[in-house]
Symmetry: C2
Subunit: 194 residues, 2 copies
DNA sequence: CGATTCTTTGAAAACAGTCAATCTGTGTGG
DNA sequence: CCACACAGATTGACTGTTTTCAAAGAATCG
């Protein structure tokens, strides 16, 4: 599992960074592994998010619930994605989000402090953090544009282009929740394309 | 103007960083200043965004235009905000965004290369970048949640809470464009509260 | 002033949401 | 292996929020 993480780091940093044996060992000893069964929570609203999670295997979702109990998914995470409520991790305050497993999953976890220490001593991780943040910001930008300017149909097509692999893996109503439309509306959009 | 930037850096890094005289000089020599008249473009779609812009004074907006010519604002930037199309700056590709001044404005500009060089030699800037990225991601997260889950009324109230100072400074129809609702709808929402 | 730009208002239309019921597939326990 | 439960998909009829279109009023600026 840790090898997968190291490979991922090297791949993401595009040859601009290396990992020595010692660094690999340091990484391996800093992350703890956790398995989650389908439907099991990684984080529940009201709790403080303590770990950044790297997904080795499986699929998770992060979502918020409104006062009527309706769920709104803010993120999916499959292999090689990170998950966790950054705001709660950084501030130490209670999270507004829930994170649970949509499939049986395997994660590697690291605390805020652990990650900071690690980043200090491993340049590759420093770089990785920058790259991930950068990509995250750009992706968010695009998602915001989609959310405020696209029709239900356009939102679906955009999702299809952006995350083609996710479609077959996620139940329809969760994609709807991610897009900010109802399952019925999404279903009608999809029906059109057959 | 450069002093303002330095003060801002120290303030944002919350005492965790310092700036020597040499570093201040280096910063001053790395940014170039630019003034923009109201309505003047800082970036037009199709062009490559070359600079990160730090706003010393004034107010700008970043927006995309759809095929029907409708505008969707993805960001406002007032004093002490950064603006620029990160995607275009990073990739060197044509931007899909426009950026123009809503008021007469003063910016400090720096190229991608300039910023990278500067960051390497000034730890405070390295830290600043991390903090800004972090805050940006959290703010985006919140905005996405608002966009996919709130009604027109809730969107407005959320904006009011998040950016209370902006309200008086921005024309109503631009706030509507930022929220992803029509100016008529926003106007009706506001009328309710009087 | 005249000319934009911005706001306000009304009426009609469209899109998406809600409610409710049925259908499908899947998996689990007896 | 069947029966049942459960999660998810599908469909129809209705409702409602928001958009669209159009026009008229403020406000601002050169």
């Amino acid at each position: 599992m840790h090898d997968m993480l190291c490979d991922y780091i090297l791949q993401k940093t595009e040859g601009k960074a290396t990992l020595s044996k010692k660094e690999r060992q340091l990484i391996a000893s800093s992350f703890i592994s956790r398995t989650l069964k389908k439907k099991q929570y990684f984080l529940q609203e009201g709790d403080v998010s303590l770990y950044h999670g790297y997904v080795c295997k499986g699929c998770l979702r992060m979502y918020r619930r409104d006062d009527k109990g309706q769920e709104f998914i803010s993120q999916f995470a499959t292999e090689n994605w990170w998950i966790g409520d950054r705001e709660s991790i950084a501030s130490g305050k209670a999270s507004k989000y829930n994170i649970d497993a949509l499939e049986d999953s395997e994660l590697l976890l690291i605390t805020k402090a652990g990650f900071e220490t690690l980043t200090q001593s491993i340049p590759a991780l420093q770089l990785l953090t920058q790259i991930i943040s950068h990509n995250n910001i750009i992706a968010s930008q695009n998602r915001i544009h989609a959310a405020i300017s696209y029709s239900a149909e356009e939102k679906y097509l955009d999702f299809l282009c952006t995350y083609p692999d996710m479609i077959e893996r996620l139940p329809q109503h969760m994609i709807a929740s991610y897009l900010g439309i109802t399952r019925e509306t999404l279903n009608r959009v999809i029906k059109q394309f057959k």
